[in-house]
Each structure stands twice: as structure tokens, then as C-alpha cells.
Symmetry: C2
Subunit: 225 residues, 2 copies
DNA sequence: CGATTGGTTATTGTCTACAGTTTACCCATA
DNA sequence: TATGGGTAAACTGTAGACAATAACCAATCG
């Protein structure tokens, strides 16, 4: 046995490149979310392949996945187009997001132990510090971490998977908006922690619902920037 | 113009083959859901390709999609394996299903008009007839139609998409169970229609939640067949 | 002058071939 | 007999080539 001498976490996990399609997928997702590839734009496989220095095959596979996840529309015999978000769809996504996050909050209140609450508090502190320091990117990142942690405490992998997808797309739609409401958001997070800590499922659900609904209203009022 | 002489609906819409990957995808999904391909089984691309009379490429693309939707696990450099459902995962899926269906019921109660209620009643009659005639397959189909209709009335495409995926996987897990509870199910459907008709969001939610939770309990008690 | 038809080009859909990895088996050896 | 290495087979990952299809544009006919 070689158990001895291999301190559990210290294994370097030697960086394997992994399947190309994965990296292409992430690259394209990055390009889409950063608006480098604009909505409605026609994505030509050979161009992307050449630009990324790979063959068409991995690009195709990445596009297929992006299609099933709603990032691109794959018209048969015509190619891939970056999905064009409509007002209606954004609203529907926000509705679903509210639903999933609220349920996650409920489950977190039900099954989340003291250690989970502690982790949430740490993340909350981190986010509040970022807000005070005017570190917008840091605050956004902390926010994502916070929600991810709540989802983790919920202990429902299926729910987490769906929420992750919906969240990313929501973020795509209203990225510019997200930066506005920084401080208020963390106050609400505090309330959520309190509810989870008290194992008050009902209150956790309501707080989270109010929280995400709040961002939804912010979205709809963004016109008059 | 040749509009004249081409009676609008009479055009046979000649069957376009469509992308091969689509047909391969559907074929594989059929094979999986019917248990022809057993959970845990190693799917060899070349075998499937030969068996379906196509090359490996469409098979690969179909497998990728099945992977993102949770039907197969795609281990790098090793291939595709039919996903093995665990007890825990089935439970999580049922939880999420309850959540999504309940929300759909609420939205249906909110936005669904009288015409929608009428359509639901028709489907309900259809299902009840099937039950009385001991037409199990017919009852199951009508049940699916009923839920799909509720989802349609909800008018949220994103929600519908997620629910469709979750529903199919749920059905995969507890297909044998579903056949049992026929009659009771349609009584509950009647209650749901009443709630939607009254535009009582709260009651519609509760009824649907009770309904799906009921099937969940049936699932967990299936051992002692 | 407009509509339609035919050709042209660019892009996707599919197939075949090759390289890289993993797995399993077999044999040699302590 | 158990262990270790080494080899071989099978499969996946990637690349490149070919065929098919759809959009685009010009030329022709009414």
C-alpha cells in the first residue's frame, strides 16, 4: 500500500489537458458571455476552428453542447447562431431562477448544519468587504460563491445543475445591471443566513424569493440607466 | 403565384430526413428508456454505428447530447456508459419535478383562460376513459398530455424545457410504478382543473404538489411490489 | 420591369483514416 | 504463488477529405 506518504490533498493532480471539446466549449462560452461574439452572429465552424488552432470536430461538439444549453441556436444545414435573448425569455429565466433558488434556500434551512452557516457567514464577510472596497468584480464573484454555497448546502445535485445553467444565462442577460445593487444585496444575504441558521424553511424561502425578485425588478427598470 | 391549387394543409410535408444525429439521438434514447441498453453498460461508438448503419460521427454527437442531459456518463478517453440511477438521485429528481410542476400549475391558474380549462377537461375525460377501459398505455399517454398541457398554459418556455427533461428521466426511473396508480391520479387532476378554473394560484400549487408528492411516495414504497 | 430559373460559392453533414491512451492479458521472476 | 513489467488489442480523440445542401447572384423570359 502506498497510502502512507501521499497526504490526501497534496497530490498535484497533474494537469491533464482533457478533451479538446471541453476547452473549446469553455472558450466559446467565454466569448459569448463577454459579448465578443454578439447575439445573432453567425458562427462558422471553420473560422472558429482556425482561430482556436484546432480542427472543426471539437468545435462542432462544443457547438452542439452550447445548443442544448441554450447559448446558440443550431439551424440545420445552416450553422450556429448566437442566441438572441428576448425580453420575454429573460423574464422567464428570472422566474425560474427565483423558483430554484428559493427551493435551494428551503432545503439549506432544512439540512444545512452549523458548519454550513459558518461558511456562509465567511462568504458574506468577504462580499461585504469587497463592497466597501468598491471592488465590483470581487463583489460579483463573492455573490456567485454565496449562492453556490447555499445550493451546496441544499444537497440536491439535480437542482444544483439546473440552477447553475439558469444562473449563468441570467447573468449573461443582466450583467450590466448586477453591478448596481451591491450593498442592499448583502443585507438580504444576512437575513437569509439567519433564517437558515434558525432552520426556518418558510422564512428562508421567502427571503430568497424576495431577494431574487428584487434583482428581477432591477432588471426591468434598467432602461432608464 | 401558385398558391391556387395547393390546398394549404394538404401538402404531405414530405418527410425530410433531417440531421442524422437527431435520429441517432432519438434511437439511442429509445433504446435506453426501454432498457434495451442497460444502466452501466459500456456503449462502444463503433458498435452502435455499425448497428445503426451510420458512421461514428453522428453517434458521437448524439452521445454528447445524451451526456449533457444526464442519460449517459461520458468518461474521458474511456467512452460512454449508460447512467446508473441511484436511489438518492431519483429522489432529487422527484423533488425538482414537484417544484417545477407546482409552479407550472400556479402559472396556469394565473394566466390560463377558459379555453385552456376546456382543453384540460377534454384530456381528463380521455384519461378517465382509458382507465375505465383498462388501457394502461393510453392512460399513461393521456397523463403525459395532461401535464404537458398544464405546462403549456403556464406559458413559460424555459420552465417547460426543464420540466420536460426532468419528467422524461423521472419516467425512466419509475415506469413500472406509474402503472399502479391510475384512478386516484385522475381524481386529483379534476381538483387541479377546478383550482385553475377558479384562478386560485395557491390551491393549484398545493394540489399539484400533493399530486406529484403522491407519486413520489408511491415510488419509495415500490419495493414490496 | 419583375419574376423565375439556373449556376456558383460558401458552409454544413458525413465518412475515412490516423494518432494517443487506456485496459487487459501474459509471461518472467522473486 | 504473487508481483512486476511489458506487450498487444481495443477504443477514443482528432484531423482531414468528400458529398450534399442552402443561400446568393446574375441572366433570361414573360
Amino acid at each position: 500500500m502506498l497510502s502512507r506518504g501521499l497526504p490526501q490533498g497534496a497530490v498535484p493532480k497533474l494537469e491533464r489537458p482533457g478533451p479538446l471539446r471541453e476547452r473549446v466549449y469553455e472558450a466559446l462560452l467565454e466569448l459569448i458571455t463577454t459579448r465578443a461574439l454578439r447575439p445573432g452572429q453567425h458562427l462558422v465552424e471553420s473560422e472558429l476552428a482556425g482561430h482556436l488552432g484546432v480542427s472543426r470536430q471539437p468545435v462542432r461538439e462544443a457547438l452542439q453542447r452550447l445548443n442544448t444549453e441554450g447559448w446558440v441556436d443550431l439551424r440545420p444545414a445552416q450553422g450556429a447562431f448566437v442566441h438572441e435573448p428576448t425580453e420575454e425569455e429573460a423574464d422567464q429565466l428570472l422566474t425560474v431562477r427565483t423558483l430554484l433558488e428559493a427551493e435551494a434556500a428551503r432545503l439549506a434551512a432544512a439540512h444545512g448544519g452549523p458548519s454550513g452557516v459558518e461558511a456562509l457567514e465567511e462568504l458574506c464577510v468577504k462580499g461585504e468587504r469587497a463592497v466597501l472596497a468598491d471592488d465590483v468584480d470581487g463583489a460579483v464573484a463573492a455573490n456567485a460563491e454565496f449562492h453556490a454555497k447555499v445550493m451546496e448546502l441544499a444537497g440536491n445535485a439535480v437542482l444544483a445543475e439546473l440552477a447553475a445553467q439558469v444562473d449563468r444565462r441570467v447573468r449573461w442577460y443582466y450583467t450590466p445591471v448586477a453591478r448596481q445593487r451591491g450593498k442592499q444585496s448583502w443585507i438580504e444575504h444576512r437575513e437569509l443566513i439567519a433564517a437558515i441558521s434558525a432552520q426556518d424553511e418558510r422564512r428562508a424561502t421567502d427571503v430568497m424569493r424576495a431577494h431574487t425578485e428584487h434583482t428581477r425588478r432591477t432588471y426591468h427598470e434598467r432602461e432608464r440607466g
